[in-house]
Symmetry: C2
């Protein structure tokens, strides 16, 4: 048995990964090499165009988006055309400055998290137009977004949905249409679609002659869609350099194809996670960027990591906000509480601005020096307490480094999935909640129709449940919520909270 | 042995807690009653004025803030005076509408999370003035806040720090003073302090004759300071009803003093957490408000729960954003991945606005119906997969219910701490990181002073390390970061990333 040390500090695509404060469970060279070659082989097959998402019978092609030469020959023209169309469209919009000055993204999950994170990471007040988002089916939340927006004259809506039938996005679009109509504006003159070719959304946008349409390829999954028009269109419209975003990712892809595990940061990261999670039971991954601009990065990674790996009883739980703020929140638990996590520090080395706050003789200490000191201090304190951590260090939060960071995590997730033998590219568990939700909407129709037959009198929960064959508690909860809503027509003279089978509900046709 | 069922649905202070989808490890009545009485007794002592935070020799009095009759007699006048002073001041400021129209909060951790959460939870565009925050020592982040603010003429700064020496807050204040000076304005005419009486900040504000000062009592901890001037002042300035906020919390306090465990929601919640964490190893608590307005609630709870309970190897890890958005992110893992969590759903029943998006005959389905259906569907799907969850249901996100929710979690945390025998009111682990950070700043002075002695020539890392008695890697990392900073005077002709002991650094006096 020859040993290999996975405690390394390596640099790729402008990102330095430091694993010297990690604990690795395995150091036997031959065992590690076998594990690593299997993961590399799986990734080569994926990049070669295999059906890597077997359940959905799909290829997995997000790596092709940043290096078209790696794509199957028949896909290259399409990839280039989409990117060029995005850039040309954004250029036109940005040149006509008076037409569209603000953007409203309508999308959820993979269609929203990336653009939101990139916007918050890179926006510069005065230069970057404002990006608003409808990323839920919360009507109160939507109302607030429209109140924040005020006038809609200068707003371009970007509707993003691969299949076109995501319910939250459909609802967001329906409400937005209403708002535009109320303002005397035509939604179609303010709308672009980013969607799969031939989807319901694609057809709608085509029929209604929206401002533009951009494709999401079948082989692009939601959580890895940032380098497709899903992420590129908002980025380009906001004035960010999409070429540098793509280049950062492409360079990291190149570096993380390397076969020498100690020189491949994605492999090293995946091995570090594997040691922590599967072998030491440290299932949580705390993302700590010492940088206000990256406060949404952990939310982006939550989806990328948890939706990819959270299956068959496996999973890595991702959370975190930003340092040093979080030191005043949950670092107490990281240092002295349950040892169930790996911490991942992110540090941009260069600040856009800084101020000297202390002078000791000739030596000046700045606001940013304190930020760095808190990072060092916290990592040291965790290390002393036996808590493993990694650090990612890079020059600056910009398009190139953001692209490289995302590519690094994407590939680490892919390798990790190989280690534990799961398909990282589907999300079967999401379907269950959607189906259950559809059943809830069906039940709403059943219950309201039943009450409709008794117009004029209130009926007790037990009676409704018995006649409709439903659980009384479920009947009760649905009707009491509807009784609070203005639009439903459901009435009740009872208390709102608690459960009582004798509670009575009625219906008034509107 | 007589059994007791902890699967309940109970209502207190406008909040309905439903634990019927939880798993409880213990149902033996006498065992539970003993555990519960100990926790209630500890809480009675705390509320009676005992030194409940023994390590810091402090009383713990946040419950007194919302019901002054429960406070020790000698404290009552002070509590009332502080609240009245906050309300009177806010009234004056709000009446002079043209003077201060926007607010800048300078604080971190418990001094920022509460006001940020309340602002995002309750703000109403057009009515609520804007609240900006400096809650970190990130200079790039600060620059962006000032760029967002633009003119400072109408900005009132609220500096919040109990001891007055929190470094991040000091730095935020120093930079803010610079910005006001650069705009030709006097910071003191735009500043109020919320701080402990006699603190360095209190003295500074007094000496410089700031606009106003408000006290933080010694017996108020950062993470439970929302009902002290820390939370009340921003809330009142923003136009929120602080009386209703206090009343919601007071009513919940009253309800959660009850001795019958199945009627005390804080006790039931604490027992549910205890079953999940200590007895079943489900250490994570996922907070899922189906409500855009409560997206920061989990961040608030992260501090309250993790800083209180994360010690002596214990802890509950809190994360979450909002539903149904998170269904498109990590719900996959909750349903099919590691079964290491309890989910906590939050549901406001009434929407401020809603839109009909479907009609099936007479039955209309709204945007909000879908939100509710996704919640029901997701909870059902988790339940079917054997994942325990709770639900908190209430009429509306407003001052009263927010106050009640916070009080509910505060007391549940207190009970839980009793169960596992820890002090919920100190945070010894935070100190280690701060001390380590101070050592880092000292090292910076050592290294720069050393380089200063060699002005004009660059020195290698190994040599610097040997002469200063420091670890070469630490020396290297600090100097390369300083070499990127404009203010430090440290120079290097080398590459930025990676580590090399032969790298050379110099110093140019500015």
């Amino acid at each position: 048995m020859t040993e290999i040390s996975l405690k390394q500090r390596i640099v790729a695509a402008g990102i330095e990964l430091d694993t010297t404060k990690m604990k690795f469970a395995e150091s036997d060279r031959s065992k590690l090499e076998a594990q690593v070659s299997r993961a590399l082989a799986a990734m080569r097959e994926l990049e070669g165009g295999a059906i890597s998402n077997a359940d959905e019978k799909r290829r997995v092609g997000h790596y092709w988006l940043r290096n078209v030469d790696k794509a199957p020959a028949e896909l290259r023209v399409g990839i280039n055309q989409a990117r060029e169309a995005v850039c040309a469209f954004a250029k036109t919009i940005r040149e006509k400055k008076d037409r569209f000055r603000r953007f409203l993204l309508i999308g959820i999950g993979g269609s929203a998290l990336g653009p939101q994170m990139v916007y918050d990471g890179l926006r510069s007040p005065g230069n970057t137009p404002a990006l608003f988002t409808l990323d839920n089916t919360d009507p109160t939340g939507m109302q607030r977004v429209f109140d924040d927006l005020g006038s809609l004259d200068d707003v371009l809506c970007i509707v993003v949905s691969k299949g076109g039938s995501t319910r939250e996005t459909q609802n967001g679009m329906a409400v937005t249409e209403t708002q535009f109509a109320a303002a005397g504006l035509n939604f179609r003159d303010h709308a672009v679609a980013v969607t799969g070719v031939g989807s319901t959304l694609d057809k709608l946008a085509s029929d209604q002659e929206w401002v533009a349409r951009f494709p999401i390829e079948d082989w692009v999954g939601g959580r890895t869609s940032l380098f497709s028009p899903v992420g590129l269109l908002p980025a380009a419209l906001l004035g960010f350099d999409v070429d540098r975003l793509l280049r950062g990712a492409r360079d990291m892809d190149e570096a993380t194809r390397g076969e020498i595990m100690t020189q491949n940061p994605a492999m090293l990261m995946a091995l570090a996670w594997h040691s922590a999670v599967e072998l030491s039971g440290r299932g949580n991954l705390v993302i700590l960027p010492y940088c206000d601009r990256l406060v949404l990065f952990s939310r982006y990674l939550q989806q990328l990591v948890m939706e990819s790996l959270g299956k068959d009883g496996h999973g890595i739980t991702v959370y975190g906000n930003k340092g040093s703020s979080d030191q005043h929140s949950y670092i107490q638990q990281l240092r002295e509480g349950t040892a169930d996590f790996t911490a991942m520090f992110l540090q941009p080395l260069r600040q856009d601005a800084d101020w000297i706050v202390e002078k000791q003789g000739d030596v000046s200490v700045t606001v940013g020096d304190y930020l760095a000191a808190f990072l060092d201090g916290t990592q040291t304190a965790l290390h002393e307490a036996g808590r493993p951590s990694m650090r990612l260090c890079f020059e600056h939060v910009d398009e190139y480094h953001l692209g490289a960071l995302i590519a690094l995590f994407e590939r680490a997730v892919g390798f990790y999935a190989s280690f534990i033998g799961i398909n990282a590219y589907h999300q079967p568990g999401v379907q269950a909640g959607k189906l259950a939700a559809a059943a809830v909407i069906d039940l709403q129709e059943t219950l309201v129709s039943f009450l409709d037959q008794h117009q004029g009198r209130e009926v007790g929960v037990s009676e409704i449940a018995a006649h409709t064959g439903q659980d009384p508690v479920i009947v009760h909860d649905m009707l009491r919520r509807l009784a609070v809503s203005k639009q439903s027509g459901v009435t009740s003279s009872s208390e709102l909270l608690g459960y009582s089978p004798s509670r009575r509900f009625g219906y008034q046709k509107s």
